[in-house]
Symmetry: C2
């Protein structure tokens, strides 16, 4: 399973007893990633049975309290509970300064390294890659410097149809070439790659887009994304307020999804005025049918 | 009712799903007081139905995360939800610096004033009083600079036995003198104060003592306190660990209570190794019988 996303908090601004503030756990090709970390995230990780010592990467969208205030307690708890392995934190300018200052003044010494990678860009930018995934920062439009993050699975070697190895008496070199996507060229014939490899699974991808005003160019940056989380703080009834506060409506989120050709849209970061989410869903659904409003604790998979 | 105490968090170090980290709400003669503010306190206030906009004073014991990290989110939420009234925060040196630095770097502008009063003393010291209560700082012994707080109700005017006003034909001046505790002196006789006033209710008092090693002199500072919260992070089975980490055992908490002549002892700040608290209670009870282990959400009253 290349992707499992667990919603740790789906509310906005002020946490309440039904919805925590923004945090998500993403297991992406066995990379364990925390996206945003509002107050109370360490408890939400426990509640939804995510082992937080195994987290490797944190991506913070912006420095509003409901997106980062849980980080101090989380890393402190990690250290108290014996962590020694480095944690990499991608975040806008300022987070490292705030964390290091607080830890210095309050004499916190962690037993592991915090590595901060400052995200600062005005265009879609690759900020991380390894042999299996790549992560892009997506500058959003909000009252603070704010980034969405796009997680892409990299192209993988093709899988060989085992029955064809015997049939064509494939050599090791030929198998390796086929895995790379090449045809097998022999003196007497060419065996087309598609005759000996299995149809590849579609690559996984996930885009996390919060907090942001409606920015149509965002769709170009996340073309054909398979799973899209887009904030929908309001319905169009509060379009003015959405604009004034740097947020989107459910309709605007759906417009991004359809323009991007997304496979599935999930909405979150709801204003606490929505005691239930049917109005948000009804607004998005006529534009983009494969849409859901998320709840804390809900998980999403890609096959 | 002069005193109502609500336990918002009774655990230590790392919050878990059964116990939040330290925070208490104290309504003391209608002064609305928050004592400590670990991560998640704003949610605990909601959970236990305390209106957090009505809080007037915050007393922070020390700058370990499980005692103050909830403050950033709480005051941010207060501002987002429309607070304009000043909040007074009593805390050791460093908290003001950390809060103001974080708010500056992350561009947080509150719509109300935060007034910090730095607590710095090596002896029991009066740090606040008004016409009805007084608060003392009690320097404790911990790995960080740490204060307990003693809340005393001030002496009040006596209540007059109304049946005696007519009987003795008391004048207004005589009534006022009697309320102040004076005898009524007439040419022909002296009416003893006790003949015309009601027996006063005992004054309320509450001592909050966490986190601390066992310090016997603490009992002298809180003589005859009516309600005593003392940390009991461990049982005596972990006496060494208690000493090493600057904490107390349940027995030591009971020794403080008996030496102080307290009316009731409540224990908290339990290590997460205690899934239930019977061992802590059994250790304290033979020394001091009126003892309880607190739970999140539990309330205590004094008549």
């Amino acid at each position: 399973m290349p992707l499992k996303l667990t919603i740790l908090g789906s509310g906005s601004a002020v946490p309440n007893l039904n919805r925590g503030v923004t945090a998500q756990f993403l297991n992406f090709n066995e990379r364990r990633i925390l996206i945003d970390c509002g107050e109370g995230t360490q408890l939400q990780l426990r509640r939804f049975k995510v082992k937080f010592q195994r987290l490797q990467y944190v991506f913070i969208s912006h420095l509003h309290g409901d997106h980062f205030l849980g980080l101090f307690g989380l890393v402190s708890s990690m250290s108290l509970l014996g962590r020694t392995k480095k944690l990499k934190i991608f975040a806008p300018e300022g987070l490292e300064e705030v964390v290091r200052h607080q830890f210095k003044v309050t004499n916190v010494y962690l037993d592991f390294e915090l590595e901060f990678i400052t995200v600062k860009t005005k265009a879609k930018t690759l900020i991380f890659e390894d042999n299996s995934i790549e992560v892009y920062a997506l500058p959003l439009k909000h009252r603070a410097e704010c980034y969405g993050y796009l997680f892409n699975e990299k192209e993988k070697d093709l899988n060989i149809d085992k029955s064809r190895i015997k049939e064509f008496k494939l050599t090791l070199d030929e198998i390796l070439a086929a895995k790379r996507g090449e045809d097998v060229e022999r003196k007497d014939k060419v065996i087309p790659n598609s005759d000996i490899t299995l149809t590849p699974e579609p690559l996984a991808s996930y885009a996390f887009c919060t907090d942001t005003s409606y920015i149509p160019h965002l769709a170009d940056w996340i073309k054909n994304v398979r799973l899209l989380y887009h904030e929908a703080t309001f319905t169009n009834a509060h379009l003015k307020r959405a604009k004034a506060t740097g947020h989107s409506t459910a309709e605007q989120a759906a417009l991004i999804a359809i323009a991007a050709g997304a496979e599935q849209l999930i909405l979150g970061h709801f204003s606490s005025r929505y005691k239930e989410t049917s109005a948000l869903l009804e607004e998005a659904k006529p534009i983009f049918d494969k849409v859901l409003c998320v709840e804390d604790g809900q998980s999403f998979h890609l096959k």
